[in-house]
Symmetry: C2
């Protein structure tokens, strides 16, 4: 067979202001290029222990079971669902965007019996409707919702939703892919049970890892299962043997060593900044971008009370060609912004101000580039 004649891939240098990945600081890229060591090396085990402490800080939790899944956020979602939902379990799933719909799909494939609470795309999850759904289905065992909907830019009240679930003895599975480090996410204070996130949003690491954390209630549910977890790769009982305790670590899968160096560095940088400062920076920079958008006449999809500072969704102005404008931004300005997803495809643009991309210079550059394209 003839060998392909393909050169090394040299990517262009972009400014990433879409829904993720966000701009990755050189410091994190450099960390990823450090020498690979074995996934059972004592030095690597020490790094994993630090990683767990750093993730607990990011999640604001004391949960023992806090770790990165060796795969993207979609796998983190699937880990939460397949471990905490058994065939026949009733699950109330809130759908106010693409990712609520994806949770629903995961619940179905796990054999759960979903009860769907729908809200408009761009609106938060309605706590009244969720309360009604539980009243009509008091045997529901799990509530699944998205804290920060990446497809719309809407924030839901995770604390209130988890409180409703607990009133009915249900667990709360929470998608925090876009919220972690960008807006307050208080896993312990809000009593969230299973939370997954992604490395490539407000942590500004490269994509491919999914931080997760599980409460004691979630672990009790896991231990009380009557059926095996359908996924071998995502079975928490097995993953625990590897990430669980430094003393008695057993081989499960080969951890993605260098990407974990990157995530470790991203979390060290978060701790250096202080998570409250990170939240404040995201909030402040959103206001700058919003003011600029108002000058340009762009209208937000999400009401200001529920708007995510790190993901700004605006309607595409009438008469503007969606794809052509985004292509110009990419080709002439090396600026990536996000297209609409699902129901909002072709109607909106999504501007991420996540992590390292949430900076004054990015906002200025974005606004000036946009002005020339509109």
């Amino acid at each position: 067979m003839q060998k392909p004649n393909i050169p090394s891939f040299i990517p262009p240098r972009r400014t990433l202001m879409g829904p993720g990945p966000s701009d990755v600081p050189q410091r994190i890229l450099d960390a990823m290029a450090r020498p690979t060591i074995g996934h059972l090396d004592p030095a690597f085990v020490d790094m994993m222990e630090q990683m767990k402490a750093l993730l607990r800080y990011a999640f604001q939790t004391e949960n023992a079971l806090t770790m990165p899944v060796s795969a993207p956020g979609s796998a983190g979602m699937e880990m939460c669902v397949v471990n905490l939902v058994e065939p026949g379990d009733k699950v109330i799933v809130c759908r106010n965007g693409v990712f609520g719909g994806r949770m629903l799909e995961n619940v179905k494939r796990t054999g759960g019996v979903p009860v769907v609470v729908d809200d408009a795309w761009g609106a938060p999850v309605d706590t009244v409707k969720v309360e009604e759904a539980f009243a009509a289905n008091p045997d529901a065992r799990v509530l699944a919702f998205v804290h920060a909907e990446t497809s719309t830019g809407a924030r839901s009240d995770a604390q209130a939703l988890a409180a409703i679930a607990h009133k009915y003895g249900a667990l709360a599975i929470v998608d925090a892919v876009t919220s972690l480090a960008g807006i307050p996410l208080m896993v312990d204070e809000w009593e969230l049970d299973a939370v997954y996130s992604g490395s490539q949003k407000c942590l500004s690491c490269t994509p491919g890892l999914s931080p997760v954390t599980f409460s004691e209630r979630a672990i009790a549910r896991l231990k009380a299962r009557k059926t095996p977890v359908q996924s071998w790769f995502l079975d928490l009982n097995l993953v625990l043997g590897y990430w669980g305790s430094a003393g008695r670590r057993t081989y499960h899968h080969t951890a993605p060593v260098n990407p974990l160096y990157g995530l470790h560095e991203a979390l060290v940088m978060l701790a250096e900044e202080g998570i409250e400062n990170s939240w404040a920076r995201h909030a402040h920079n959103h206001e700058m971008l919003r003011d600029g958008f108002e000058v340009l006449g762009l209208k937000f999809v999400v009401d200001q009370h529920y708007r995510l500072p790190q993901l700004n969704t605006v309607y595409i102005p009438a008469g503007v060609d969606d794809a052509a404008a985004r292509t110009r931004l990419l080709n002439e300005f090396n600026l990536e912004i996000g297209a609409g997803l699902g129901d909002l495809a072709g109607k909106v643009w999504r501007f991420g101000l996540m992590g390292h991309a949430s900076r004054t210079e990015n906002i200025d550059y974005c606004l000036s580039s946009l002005k020339q394209v509109l």
Copy 2:
């Protein structure tokens, strides 16, 4: 919550001669540190198309469906099983080491009905037993086996095994985690149907990605399924929309951009060397190591006819403390070798000569270090 005071992680520089990860060349590490771009960027899409061509060369196949799974080899295994096995399907699973046992576990969790063919650890899969298993179970729909058992270092006859499966109308799922690029693996010539591998073995990339390839027969089986695939993340029907055709790419999950840069570079390096040269290098270097082991009086677990050149398993000499010797190698010589797994734990050592680790200087260093420790 108090913020953790944890510095950047600076790994030690090791020589990796265990069962993987293997030594990663600086050129691949440098590739991983290039600027992150979006997973839907046209430049990234071009890179993905190149990646598919490079992987086809590595697998020696024309299979259209050839791509890297965004997770480690364990997830590649699970992808093959959950897509090609439906509840109630009879599956003949060959177990001659840890990874055959893991395939069995995956088949069970997918609702398949396993028929296990056991062989001794260190022996290849016995084709006569497999033929007998099919004769007794002509309705079996899948044969699952490991081409190169990482836990023992034994090579099985993938071509002969696949031919038996096809005689009975069954598909062949093949674990090629340790074989890819280290010994001949002819996916088309041998008519293998679903093959998964890992980035961190003879490709010398960092761990975390699993190259896979599927034949037209496998795709036909997938399309004829009566039940949905139980995993959302690993559902080939969905993954195909993303990796399938450059023209009409749809968002599935966020691809691990920078790790894919690394795999791309590893595959470019393989093509530069030429895969036949890579196989020859692995074979030749094995002989050097074997000669050195003979001088040291170390005995191989696997008969020379079935021995993998890239994974050399030897019995620990009588009177030598397994853990203490490996700890000395690591601490004094920065040399990682592999412990025994499963039935062979405490009895053997595994020496990897994989990819970039398959070099004269590594062999010399390994033999001289070992001499001082024994």
